[in-house]
Subunit: 245 residues, 6 copies
C-alpha cells in the first residue's frame, strides 16, 4: 500500500524526519510517500497557524487523491483532520488521534507530554470525546531545538513528566509533537508506563484501515462533496470539491 | 465604532445581505464594514469547505487589523473563530456563538434550526461546552434557494420546527444559516419561544465587547503570535504572525 | 432604557456601590434604578441566606415590574435568577452569569476568583452548563472588609491568583463578589489575562437584551405564570403570579 | 425518632395527605410531625413559586430546629434542599432526591413520570449529578385534580408512560409530584419495573440517616451558619443564622 | 429480616470482621448471616482478582437465594454488583455504592480515602454516574496490615487525608476498604466532615430496600434470567440462571 | 504472530465461527489459535452470565499466557477485558472495543446494532468514555437463530436499522454480537455508512499492538499482579496472580 505522510508545515526537514519515522514503523509492503505543503507556517504552534496550515494541507492532499491508499497527517495537532477525512477518497488518520486511540487499548487513562500548547491539545482530545480517558497533560519546560541539541537533558524532563503522569493515574503516555519523536524508544525502558509515538501508531492505524477496506459514507457530514465550487484554490482541490477527482 | 462584518464565503450577495442585517441591528454609532474573502468556497456546506474558508477568512481579517474595532464572523459555522480571535488585535465574535450565548441568558435550553449540517452544528456547540444547554437541532426539509423563492412555505416549516423544539423543552431557538436571516422577525409572533438571529446577536455582542475595552491576553493560547513565519500567505497576515501588524 | 440594579441583600451601602459601578459601565441613555430588598440577609455568604434572599429579591423586582426595561441582579450568586427570569415581564441578567458568558467570547477557559464560597460558585457554573469552560476557582485568603481597608495587599493576592489561573490554562478571569468590584481596573494592567467584573458585563448584557427586543416565551418553564395564588406575599408579587401585573 | 414532614406549599390538605403517606411508610417508633408554611404558594408549579416557597420552608423548619430528629421535604421539587440542609441541626431529605437515590440501588437507569414541569425536574436531577442515570422524563397528559377525580383513567396514562420508559431502558420509575402519591401501589403489579414514591423512599432515607448518627460538617458550604444577620425574618430562622438556635 | 453479608474474598477473618460491623450497625430485628466464597482471591486488590471473585460471589449468593431478604456485598469494590442484582430474587447492595449514595444525601461533593486502587475506585464511581459528586480520592501511604498493627499512626494519616479532601471541597468522606472499618468512629470527632463506613451505610440501605418491598423488574437487563444454561457451575447458580431457583 | 481468539462462552460452534472470521481477517503471518472456556454459560446474554464467563475466560487465557502474542476476546460484551489486560503478559483486545475505536477513526459519531442487551452495550461504551461518540443503539427485532435460518429477512432489518442510525447522525455502524458476523459484508453495499465487524477490527488491532511492541506497565492498576494468592482456581491462573507465570 502507498501511505502519504503529509506534513502540515513547510519545513522540509520535519517532513523528512517524519517520513523516516514512518518508514521505521511501517509493515513490509507499505510505501511511504512524504509531502510538504506549498505554503503555510514554518512550524505550527498557535491557533492561527493551524488554520492556515489546514488549507495548505488540503491542497497538498488533493494532489495525491487517487494515487495513495491512505493518509497520515504528520502534525501533532491533527490539523484539518475532519475536512481531510471528508474530502479524500481514502482513509485519513491523525497522528495524535492514532496515539490516543492506541492508548485506549492499553486500558485506563492516558497522559500526554508536549512542549507547549496544552490548551489546544486538551481541546483536541475533548473533540475526540476522550476527555474522561485523559489523566493530564504536562508541558515540559524545554523547546524543540533544545530537544535536538541536548536530548539527554530534555529526555530527563520527559521522563520526570511521564512518572508524574503515572502517579496521577495514567496507564500510558502520548508524546505529542514532532520534536518528541524518538523519545519513546530512548526512554521506554526507564518509564513506568508505555510511551506512545504518534507516527508509529499512525502508520499502523493507516495500515489497519486500508486492510479493512471500508467504504466511504454515502450520506452525512463525511460523505465526499459533490458539486461544490470554490475560487482561487488549486485545481486538484477544486476537483475534489466538485466530486470528479 | 467600526465593526467588520466578514463573510467567509466568496458570494458577494451574501456579504451584502449580512451587512444589511448588521446595519439593521447595529446601535447608532456603529459603522458596518462588510468584506468578502479573496478566495474560497462560494458557499460553505461541508467540512472541507470550512477548512479552506478558514484560511481565506484570516487573510481577509488581516487586511483590516488595526482599522476596525471588532469583527463579526458572518458565517453560521463560526469558521476559524479561535484562530481569528487569537490573531486579531480586537474582539472577534461568531454569529452562532453569539446567538447561543444570548439564548443562555433567556434561561433553560435552546433549540437550533438549520437547512442541514446538523452534525457540524452539534460539534460546534459541544466545542463551546454548551451541549447540556442544547435541547435539539432540527434540519428543515428545504434548501436556501427555496427559502428565497418561497419564504411562506419555508417559513411554515421553520415554525413547525420551532414548535417541535419548544415541545422538546427548548426555551428559545437559534436560527443557524444565512438563508434563515429575517425569518426571526417574520415568524416571531407565531412562535411559542424567542427566535434568535446570529447577525443581530452578533452585532450587539461585538458592541458589548468593544464597550468593555478588555485587553488581549499576554499569555496562553489566545495571546497574539509573535515571531512566527509562514510562506505563501498575504503580507498582512504574515505581519500579524510576526507580531508587528 | 431603565435598568433596575437589584441588590439581594439588605445593605444599602452595597446597593449604592453597585449602582455606581453600573452607572460607570452603562451606555448613554441607560438609566440606573437601584433597589434594596425590604428584608433578608445583610450579606449573602451561605446557602440558607441565598434562599431567603431569593424571596426578598422577587418581592423587590415585582415592585418594578412594568416600570423598568431590564433587571440586573447585583449579587454574585445570581440569586433566584431562574425564578426572576420567569416572573418578570422584561429581561433579567445575573452578574456572574454575564461575566461568565462574556468570558466565553474571549475564547478558551476562564478562571474565577472569590473571597470564599468556592463550592457554591462551582455549582452555579455547572448549572449554567459551563463547567467545561471553567479552568478553576481560587478563593483568596482575605475578607471583603480587608479588601476595603487594604486594597493594595488584597489586590496583590488577587493578582497572584489571576496569574495562577492563567498558568492553569485560564484565558480570562471572572471576579466574583461585590467586594472585588473595581479590582478589575486596578489590576488589569498587571494581569496576564483579562479580568471581568460582573457589574460591567451585566449592564452591557442587559442593554443588549433590551436592544434585541425578544418576546417572553408563551410556553415552557419560563413562560410567565398565570392564575397562581400565594398567601402572605406582597401585592405586586401576588399580581405577577396571577398574571395580571 | 421524630420526623418533620414539611410541606412547602400552604395547602393544608396536601400536608395531611403527605403526613398520612409518611405514617404509612414509617418504621415503628418514627413519629411523623406534619407542618405547613405560614405563607407562600398554594401549589408550587413554577420557578418563581419555588423561590418563594424556599423562604417559607426555611421559616417553617426553623420553628422545629432542635425538636425533630430529621426533616423530609414533602415537595417533589425538593425546594430549598441545600439551604435547609445547611441550616438545620439534623438531617434533611428531599423526597425526589430520596426516590432517585433509591432507584440507583435497583441498578441501571431510571425514568420519571410527572404532571408537567419536565425541564425543572431535568435540572434538579442534573444538579444531583444523576443525569447519566436518567433514562427519560414523561409528563402524562393529565392534571392533579383529574388524578383525584378519575384515578383509573389517569392511572392508565401513568402505566402507559411507565411501559414506555421501560422500553427506553429505565429499570425503575420515579413518580414525581404529590398528586401521584399512591399510584405506585395501585399500578405496581401491572408495571414492568418498580414504581418509586418519594414519600415512602424519603421517610426510610430519613430513618437511615438518623440511625447513622453522622455529625454536621464543621467546615465548608454545608457547615451551619454562625454570626449571620438578616432583617425581617422570623426569630427562629434568625437564631439559626446567628448560630445560637 | 435476614441479611446476607457476603464477603467476596476467601479470608474468613475478614468475613467475621464484616459480620461484626454489620451486626453493630443493624436495626433490631435484622439477622446477619455471614458467608465466605468457596474459592477465589485471599484479598482483592487488582482487576483480575475482582473478576475471579465475581464468579465466586455469585456462587455464594446462589446458595442463599430464597433464604435471605437482602444481600450486602462486603467488599469495597462492590464486586459483581450488577450481576448479583440481576440474578438474586432479593435486593443486593454494594457497600461502597451505599456509602456514596449516603454521602449524596449530606449534600455537595464527597471525597474517598483508600489504601490504594485509586483508578479502580474512580472507575467504579463513574459507573455509578457519580463522578461530578466526587471531589477527589486519596490513597494514604499505608497498608491494611499497618492499619491493624498501628491504628494510631494510620489513623493520623487518614485524618490528614480527610482534612485535605475537605479543603478540596468534599462535604463528606467515604472510607473505602475493609481495613478502614472502624476508623470512622475513631476519627469522626477530629474530622471536619462526616466519615462514612460502607458496612454501616450498606446494612441500613439493605434494610430500607427490604422495607420498601419493591418488585423485581419483569423486563430489561435486571430482569431475572430464565432458561439460561451454563456448564461447570454450582447447582444453585445454575438453577438461578434457568429461572427455577 | 500467534493470536489467541478466546470465546467466553462454552459453545464450541461459536468458537469455530469466530476463528474462521478471524482467519479471514488476519494478515499473512498471523496464526489464529481458537479456544473455548472449560466452564460457563452456553451463550452470554445477561449480566450474571457475563460475570461467570469472566472467570472462565481468565482461566482460559492463563493456559495460553506466554505462548501467544496477543489475545482477542471473541465476545461482544468484551467480557473481563480489564482483568484480562492486567493479568496477561501480552496485549488483549475486546472485539467491540476494537470496532468502536475503528469507528472513531472514520470520524463523527457511530451507531450500534444488536439483537438485544442495549443497556449493557450502552454501559460498555460509557465505560470506554465514548458515549459522546455514540449516536444511538438499535436492537433489531430478531434472534440469533433467526439470523442463521433466514439471513435475508434479518439482513433487511439490520439494513433498516443502519439507515435509521445514519439518519440520526451516525457516520458508521458497529455490529455487536457474534450472530451478526458476516452481515457487514453482506449488507455493506446497500448501507449508507460503513458497517464494522468486531472480529475483523479486533484481529487487525491485535496485530497493530503486537507490531508496536509496547511494554506492560510497571505501576498502576494494569501492572501485572505479583504475590497474590487465590484458592480453588486453575494452576495457570494462580501462577499469573503470583507473578511467576
Amino acid at each position: 500500500m502507498r501511505l502519504l505522510v503529509a506534513n502540515a508545515n513547510t519545513t522540509e526537514a520535519i517532513t523528512q524526519a517524519c517520513a523516516a519515522a514512518a518508514r521505521a514503523a511501517a509493515a513490509p509492503g507499505t510505501e511511504i510517500i512524504a509531502a510538504t505543503p506549498r505554503f503555510g507556517p514554518a512550524v505550527i504552534s498557535s491557533r492561527a497557524e493551524n488554520v492556515i496550515a489546514g488549507h495548505a494541507l488540503l491542497e497538498l492532499l488533493a494532489e495525491h487523491a487517487g494515487s495513495v491508499d491512505a493518509v497520515l497527517l504528520a502534525v501533532s495537532h491533527d490539523t484539518a483532520l475532519e475536512g481531510a477525512r471528508q474530502v479524500m477518497p481514502c482513509p485519513v488518520i491523525g497522528m495524535t488521534e492514532a496515539a490516543c486511540l492506541t492508548a485506549c487499548m492499553l486500558g485506563g487513562r492516558f497522559g500526554m507530554i508536549t512542549f507547549g500548547g496544552v490548551e489546544m491539545y486538551r481541546e483536541l482530545i475533548a473533540r475526540y470525546g476522550l476527555d474522561t480517558r485523559l489523566a493530564d497533560i504536562i508541558a515540559v519546560n524545554a523547546t524543540p531545538p533544545e530537544a535536538v541539541a541536548d536530548p539527554d537533558s530534555v529526555g530527563n524532563k520527559v521522563l520526570v513528566a511521564a512518572k508524574a503522569l503515572a502517579a496521577e493515574g495514567a496507564n500510558s503516555v502520548v508524546l505529542a509533537g514532532a520534536a518528541l519523536a524518538g523519545f519513546d524508544n530512548r526512554l521506554q525502558e526507564a518509564s513506568p508506563v508505555a510511551l506512545l509515538d504518534g507516527m508509529a501508531c499512525g502508520v499502523r492505524m493507516a495500515e489497519l484501515l486500508v486492510s479493512l477496506g471500508l467504504p466511504k459514507p454515502a450520506a452525512g457530514s463525511y460523505a465526499p462533496p459533490t458539486g461544490r465550487s470554490a475560487a482561487g484554490i488549486s485545481l486538484p482541490l477544486a476537483a475534489l470539491l466538485r466530486g470528479n477527482a
